[in-house]
């Protein structure tokens, strides 16, 4: 993971992105930046275009208009695996692990890009193959310890509890050595203890200098971890700012947070 760099440098910039599915406008015109080392949350009602935005950023979907740049490189024409190799890595909302292989194998798969062995090393069982495999195994154990599921190493990923599967999903993303993580509803389906554990993990990742863009519905968590929040509604950004400002923003309350949030914000 990268050394923490100057906070104000933009890492990811989304420039006038629009996504149309036929006549349906999923995102009409979206622009925002995420600075190096920042934790930014993207919130909004279901169907507001959050996951679509993730798909555009990571190359799973081509925008109809606009451009996405990561550390100066345009991502418009890159395939998802090429985006990953720039250090920009996502997790998924639902299916986030390789169900039928062990937890350890999952992380080994995630470490794919770090392997140094070439095809010939593998076929002829040259020393480099074993060296590379051993390095990967050590690294996999470290990553499992970091996210806190090291005791589940030998189990099948599909047999893990929901919360642990989400953690494994993050472990998979971390295995690619990202400089920026895009987390799509990482704590949905987690209980309060698991969420608290996840927030600790986020804090540690932040300590490593990883920039984070978060999509999440769990408001206490969003308010707790974010430096800035971007609010989407009907494919448009309706507000942007630090948590306190967002909680008091009438338009956001109207569209998403509800009147209760206003009261809590006053308290």
């Amino acid at each position: 993971m990268d050394v923490r760099s100057t906070q104000t440098q933009p890492a990811l910039s989304i420039e006038h992105i629009a996504v149309h599915f036929g006549g349906l406008v999923a995102i009409s015109d979206m622009s925002f930046v995420v600075n190096e080392g920042e934790v930014v949350s993207l919130i909004g009602p279901n169907g507001a275009g959050k996951t679509t935005a993730f798909n555009v950023i990571t190359g799973f979907l081509r925008p109809s208009k606009g451009d996405v740049r990561y550390r100066g490189t345009s991502l418009s024409n890159l395939k998802p695996h090429e985006v990953t190799s720039l250090g920009l890595v996502r997790t998924f909302q639902r299916t986030s692990v390789f169900q039928s292989v062990s937890v350890f194998e999952n992380v080994m798969i995630g470490l794919h890009r770090r392997g140094r062995s070439r095809l010939w090393d593998t076929l002829l069982a040259l020393p480099r193959e074993r060296e590379s495999e051993n390095e990967l195994k050590t690294r996999a154990a470290e990553i499992l310890a970091l996210v806190g599921i090291e005791r589940r190493t030998a189990e099948l990923a599909g047999s893990l509890s929901y919360g642990d599967q989400r953690l494994l999903g993050v472990a998979l993303a971390l295995a690619t050595d990202p400089s920026m993580l895009l987390l799509d509803e990482p704590v949905s389906g987690m209980n309060a203890t698991e969420t608290a554990r996840f927030m600790q993990l986020l804090a540690r990742l932040r300590g490593f200098g990883v920039t984070i863009l978060l999509v999440e519905h769990d408001m206490p968590m969003v308010m707790g971890v974010s430096d800035r929040i971007v609010v989407l509604n009907y494919g448009k950004i309706i507000a942007e700012g630090p948590p306190a400002a967002i909680q008091g923003n009438p338009e956001v309350i109207q569209a998403y947070l509800g009147q209760g949030a206003k009261k809590r914000a006053r308290d």
Binding site: K79, H81, F92, Q99, L156
Partner: protein
């Protein structure tokens, strides 16, 4: 014990020509062995990357024809009066060239057809096999069409000045096929237990997640197709030089189906699966022949296949692994929930 099991099995199989003198049974062992090599190659694609190629016999047939033509020589007039004359080359060179040509075809088919998945991919591969069959049938000047390529020389090994060894008899062909099976097994097992194999399994399990951790899907699918086609080509070459005659029927859809049956019943995605499935379905006709008429033999073949799929949907090898506790996973359904809730 688990470590020695493959070696014991290999020794047992290697001793077969020493006590088995019945040429018909030995012949069955050899042809079954050739199909096992083909099934192993199909398993790499079907079992590890999860792509069903129903045109796999094309690579087998291309290997057979390439190897036969390289060792027989040919004289063909191409469009525009351009003549290509090829003098016969040593047979082992034909074997190598068969692998390369099949691998190249695997590359081209892979590059073109991995743009689509699922049923579309299956259709592309079937069409490819059918096109190749029609070429073999109609390009009479090169392939003799339905008249078949005959007098194909047996496999030879050796170098000028050092002497040659001809694989003419059945026992020597038996060991040749066994050698190729072992080689293919080693190649495939090294591949699937490496980072390449993990990438393939990742694609099969969850393609979007695989892509998001930085795995280049097309690259690994094409790689699997090339290696798989190359091994199938090797099997085809063995087939041509063992039977010494090949006609366009080597491209029959039936052969692809046979390979698929071997892989599925034995257990796709396991190294031993195609071998176990191959032995069973290679020998069913032999066993059934002793007491049933041909129609009944095929009915038995079908019934046996349905039975295996019905009772052991994962295949024989995974079921055996489960029974004997190999690779057993600790039962992890109950205690996990409690533990995570206790965690701070």
């Amino acid at each position: 014990m688990k470590r020695f099991l493959p070696w014991i099995a290999l020794l047992a199989i290697a001793s077969v020509p020493m006590w088995l003198k019945d040429p018909y049974l030995l012949n069955t062992f050899i042809t079954t062995g050739i199909f096992i090599v083909a099934a192993m190659s199909l398993n790499l694609l079907l079992g590890y990357t999860g792509q069903l190629s129903l045109g796999h016999v094309a690579f087998f047939g291309i290997g057979a024809y390439t190897s036969a033509l390289v060792s027989l020589g040919f004289d063909v007039e191409l469009i525009g009066g351009f003549r290509v004359v090829h003098e016969p080359w040593p047979v082992w060179l034909g074997f190598v060239i068969a692998i390369l040509v099949s691998g190249l075809c695997g590359y081209i088919v892979g590059k073109l057809s991995f743009r689509v998945r699922g049923a579309y991919f299956v259709i592309v591969t079937i069409s490819f096999a059918e096109v190749v069959r029609l070429v073999a049938l109609n390009w009479v000047e090169l392939t003799q069409g339905p008249l078949a390529l005959t007098s194909i020389p047996p496999m030879t090994l050796g170098l000028p000045g050092l002497g040659y060894f001809d694989f003419y008899g059945k026992p020597s062909n038996f060991y040749l096929v066994l050698g190729v099976i072992v080689l293919a097994y080693v190649i495939i097992s090294r591949l699937v237990n490496s980072r390449v194999g993990r990438a393939m399994v990742a694609l099969k399990e969850n393609e979007s997640l695989a892509v998001s951790v930085g795995i280049d899907v097309t690259r690994y699918l094409v790689l699997a197709a090339v290696i798989s086609a190359g091994i199938a080509g090797a099997a085809g070459s063995l087939y041509a030089h063992y039977l010494k005659i090949i006609d366009p029927d080597v491209f029959l859809f039936l052969y692809t189906v046979t390979m698929v049956i071997m892989v599925i019943t034995g257990g796709k995605g396991t190294l031993a699966g195609p071998i176990v499935g191959g032995l069973i379905f290679g020998f069913i006709p032999v066993v059934a022949r002793s007491f049933a008429s041909p129609e009944i033999q095929w009915i038995l073949y079908g019934l046996f296949m349905i039975l295996i799929i019905f009772v052991l949907p994962q295949g024989i090898v995974p079921a055996c692994e489960k029974w004997f506790g190999v690779n057993a996973q600790p039962d992890a359904s109950g205690p996990i929930k409690a533990k995570t809730q206790d965690a701070p």
